[in-house]
C-alpha cells in the first residue's frame, strides 16, 4: 500500500510499504477513506518530538471501512464505516474504566521509553513516535487498529466523511479544552491560537454556555474564521498588547478561563520569543511556552488555564509564582477522545455544529508532502488539510 513516511526534519514522502495484517486478536484493519494532517503532526515534521525513526508512517486523524477483524472483535463487522480515535485504549485498565482513555496503561508496547521521559507512560498513539507506541499511522491506504472493539465509532450513513472525520481528534480536543474550564454563566473565555483546535475550542466554549470568547492569533485569515465561523471576538497579538486588551475587555477582571491551543512551537513579539527560540535550538528546553506564559498571566485570579496545545518535554521560566499566589488551576491532558465521540456525534447529527468548516485544502494522499509544506508555512491561507488515498 501507499503511506506517508517520515524521514527527518521537514522530510516526508509517500512510499510503497507492506499492507498491515492482523497481529492481535482485538485488531481490525481499516481501509482509509479520509485522513487529515494535524497541527501536532507539524511538531514531528519540524523534528521536535524524540524517538522518531526514518520510515515511520504518520497520521492519527483517519476514518474508513473495516475490511478485516481479529477473533476478539465482536462489535464491528466487515463493511462498517468507522472513525478511529487517535489514542489507543484497551478499555479494561483502571484508567480506561475511569474514562481517562489517553492514560490507558496497556496500549503502549514501548511504555518503558515513555517512562524514561515522563515518569509513567500514557497511552499509545497512531503515528506519533516510538515512545508513544511505535504504531503505524493513518496517512495511508490501510491501517491496523489495535483494541478495535473499544475505539472505532460506527458512523451513520447520512453523514459525510468531512462532517465526522474530526471526531478522531481535533473536535473532541477543542471540546475537552473548553469542558475542563467548568464554564459558568457570564464567563469570558480567551483562546490562544486560532488553528483548527482553537476554532473548535471557541465553538465548544459557546456550546457549553460561555458569555463571550476572545481569540488570539497573528494570521488575519485565522482570526477572520474565528470571528465569522466560530463567533469569537479577536485580537491580533502583533497589533495589540494582549494582556492590556484582555484586561480592558473584561472590565479589569481578566478572562475567567484561558485556553492554550498553541503548544510547543509558539510565537510571540519581543525578547521572550527570541530567548525561547535560542534555548530550543540549543536543546536547553524542548518547548517554547510563549502562549502558555501569557495565558497564565492573563487569567483571572482563581480561574482555569486549560492546556490543549501539545507540549513534549521541558520548558523554562514557568511562572509558578503566578499560579500559586493567584490560585490558578491548570488543566491538561491528551484528549480522552473515546469519551466524547458519541455525544459530539449527536451534536453533529442535531445540526448544532458542522466540523467541516475548518477544511481549506483537499489533496490526494500522494501529495502529502505538499500538504505538510503548505500547512506548516501557512501558505494559501491553509487551516486544515484533508487527504484521500
Amino acid at each position: 500500500m501507499r503511506a506517508n513516511c517520515w524521514h527527518g526534519k521537514k522530510r516526508v514522502r509517500v512510499e510503497e510499504v507492506p499492507d498491515p495484517q492482523i497481529l492481535n486478536p482485538r485488531d481490525a484493519i481499516v481501509r482509509i477513506t479520509s485522513t487529515a494532517i494535524c497541527g501536532s503532526d507539524l511538531h514531528l515534521y519540524n523534528g521536535f518530538i524524540p524517538t522518531m525513526k526514518s520510515g515511520d508512517i504518520l497520521g492519527h486523524e483517519f476514518m474508513g471501512e473495516v475490511v478485516e477483524k481479529g477473533s476478539g472483535v465482536d462489535n464491528l463487522n466487515v463493511g462498517d464505516r468507522v472513525v478511529v480515535p487517535f489514542p489507543i485504549a484497551c478499555g479494561h485498565c483502571s484508567q480506561c474504566e475511569r474514562e481517562l482513555y489517553s492514560l490507558c496503561e496497556n496500549s503502549n508496547p514501548n511504555a518503558w521509553m515513555a517512562e524514561k521521559m515522563y515518569g509513567y507512560s500514557p497511552c499509545g498513539i497512531f503515528g506519533y513516535s516510538h515512545m508513544l507506541g511505535g504504531y503505524a499511522g493513518g496517512q495511508a491506504e490501510y491501517a491496523r487498529v489495535p483494541f478495535a472493539d473499544v475505539g472505532p465509532l460506527k458512523v451513520p450513513d447520512g453523514l459525510t466523511d468531512d462532517q465526522v472525520l474530526f471526531l478522531s481528534d481535533i473536535f473532541p480536543t477543542g471540546y475537552m479544552a473548553a469542558e475542563v474550564c467548568n464554564i459558568q454563566p457570564g464567563d469570558v473565555i480567551a483562546v490562544w491560537g486560532c488553528g483548527p483546535v482553537g476554532q473548535f475550542a471557541i465553538k465548544s466554549a459557546y456550546l457549553l454556555g460561555a458569555e463571550r470568547v476572545i481569540a488570539i492569533d497573528r494570521f488575519d485569515y485565522r482570526l477572520q474564521m474565528a470571528r465569522d465561523r466560530a463567533g469569537a471576538e479577536t485580537l491580533n497579538y502583533e497589533e495589540v498588547n494582549v494582556l492590556e486588551a484582555l484586561k480592558e475587555m473584561t472590565g479589569g477582571r481578566g478572562p475567567d478561563s484561558c485556553i492554550d491551543a498553541v503548544g510547543m512551537e509558539g510565537h510571540g513579539p519581543g525578547l521572550a520569543y527570541a530567548y525561547d527560540r535560542v534555548k530550543q535550538a540549543m536543546m536547553m528546553e524542548t518547548d517554547r511556552p510563549i502562549a502558555l506564559r501569557e495565558a497564565i498571566f492573563a487569567c483571572r485570579s482563581g480561574g482555569t488555564v486549560s492546556v490543549a496545545g501539545v507540549y513534549g518535554g521541558l520548558i523554562d521560566k514557568f511562572p509558578i509564582g503566578t499560579i500559586v499566589n493567584r490560585s490558578l488551576t491548570i488543566k491538561s491532558g491528551q484528549t480522552h477522545v473515546h469519551r466524547y465521540m458519541r455525544p459530539l456525534l449527536e451534536r453533529i447529527e442535531k445540526g448544532e455544529i458542522d466540523p467541516s468548516f475548518v477544511i481549506t485544502h483537499r489533496l490526494r494522499l500522494q501529495d502529502a508532502a505538499e500538504g505538510f509544506s503548505i500547512f506548516n508555512d501557512k501558505q494559501d491561507e491553509c487551516m486544515k488539510v484533508v487527504m484521500t488515498p
Partner: protein
C-alpha cells in the same frame, strides 16, 4: 526498586553525572560539528562523535535506571578512557587544533576524576557497610519490581501459580515444564544466544498471598525469589511484587554483556510485569509495528518479524 536514604544521598553525584552524560551525548549526536570544533578534532571524526554520543546517552540512562549500582558508573570511567584515547591520538594528527584538543583532554580528565570518586563511593557508602563487599558482587543480581493488575486477587494468583504461563509474558523464558507437584524445569535465553536451564523447587505457595521458589543444585543460573500478592486499596485490583536474585551464567562477565546490550535485569522484569498486566487485563499483549527503535513504525511484510522482536510466545 528500593534503596535507602544513605544510598540516595551518595547517588546525588551519580545522578548529576547521568544528566551530564545525556546532555553531552545529545549534543554529540545532534551537533557533531559543533562538538568537533569545540574540541578541535578533525572533520573525519564526526561519525565517531555520533557513536560516542549514543554511548554517552546510554550511560546516562543506565545510571538513572540503576542508581544503586556502581556498574554503570564504572562503565562511564571506561568510556572516559576511550574519549581520552581518541583525544590523545588526535593530538598527534596534523588536522587537529592542538590547543583545543589539549583543553578537551584537561576537561575529560577532570570528569574522569569525578567518575572515579563517584564509583568508589559506592564501596564506601553503599548500604552493605564498608567491611562487606557490595550486594551485587556477593549474591549476583537482585531485582524487585511491582505492578498493579486490575483483576481480582484469586485470578491473578491462579495465573501465577501455573508456571507454564510464564513464557507468555517473560521475554527471556523459552519454556517451563512442571515435573511434579513442586519441581519444574525452566529453560531461558542467556546472554549472547546461549540457552540456560535449571530445575526449581517451589518452597511455598500460600493461596492468594505468595509463592516462593529456589533453583536446585546444578543449575546453570542459580536463582531464588518470591511473588507476593496483595489486594490494592479501593477496588484497584491486585498489587504484584516480584523479588528475585540470580547469579548470571558467565558470572560478572555475563552480566556485563547483558548490561552492555541494554538488558538491565530490573528493566527486564519491569517489562515482563507490564506484559503480564496487559495479558491479564486485556487478554493480549498488544504488538507495536515499531518495537523499541529497532524498526520503523510500518507494517512488516511478514508479521513473524514483529512477533519475534516482541520476544514472547503468543
Amino acid at each position: 526498586m528500593e534503596h535507602d536514604d544513605e544510598t540516595n544521598h551518595g547517588n546525588q553525584l551519580s545522578t548529576t553525572l547521568a544528566w551530564f552524560s545525556i546532555a553531552l551525548g545529545a549534543t554529540e549526536l545532534a551537533a557533531p560539528r559543533v562538538m568537533r570544533r569545540l574540541t578541535g578534532l578533525p572533520e573525519s571524526t564526526e561519525p565517531m562523535l555520533r557513536a560516542l554520543g549514543a554511548r554517552e546517552i546510554a550511560h546516562g540512562i543506565s545510571i538513572l535506571v540503576r542508581p544503586d549500582s556502581p556498574v554503570p558508573v564504572w562503565s562511564r570511567v571506561a568510556g572516559d578512557a576511550i574519549d581520552l584515547a581518541v583525544l590523545f591520538s588526535a593530538l598527534g594528527s596534523g588536522e587537529s587544533d592542538r590547543g583545543r584538543v589539549s583543553g578537551a583532554i584537561a576537561a575529560v580528565a577532570g570528569v574522569t576524576a569525578l567518575d572515579v570518586i563517584c564509583a568508589t563511593r559506592f564501596g564506601a557508602n553503599g548500604s552493605e557497610g564498608a567491611d562487606e563487599p557490595p550486594d551485587w558482587t556477593r549474591r549476583g543480581v537482585r531485582v524487585e519490581e511491582v505492578t498493579t493488575i486490575n483483576r481480582p486477587i484469586a485470578e491473578v494468583y491462579a495465573f501465577w501459580r501455573r508456571f507454564e504461563n510464564f513464557p507468555s509474558f517473560m521475554r527471556h523464558l523459552e519454556s517451563v515444564q512442571q515435573l511434579s507437584g513442586t519441581i519444574s524445569r525452566w529453560r531461558a535465553k542467556g546472554p549472547a544466544g546461549m540457552s540456560v536451564e535449571w530445575e526449581a523447587e517451589m518452597l511455598e505457595a500460600r493461596e492468594h498471598e505468595w509463592i516462593a521458589w529456589r533453583s536446585l543444585e546444578g543449575s546453570d543460573v542459580p536463582n531464588s525469589g518470591s511473588v507476593r500478592f496483595q489486594r490494592a486499596p479501593g477496588a484497584r485490583g491486585t498489587e504484584v511484587r516480584v523479588q528475585l536474585q540470580y547469579r548470571p551464567p558467565a558470572g560478572a562477565l555475563g552480566k556485563g554483556i547483558a548490561w552492555l546490550f541494554g538488558e538491565e535485569p530490573s528493566q527486564q522484569i519491569h517489562e515482563d510485569l507490564h506484559r503480564a498486566k496487559q495479558l491479564l487485563e486485556t487478554g493480549e499483549i498488544p504488538l507495536s509495528d515499531g518495537p523499541g527503535l529497532w524498526r520503523p513504525a510500518q507494517p512488516a511484510a511478514d508479521p513473524r518479524e514483529i512477533k519475534e522482536l516482541a520476544g514472547v510466545q503468543l
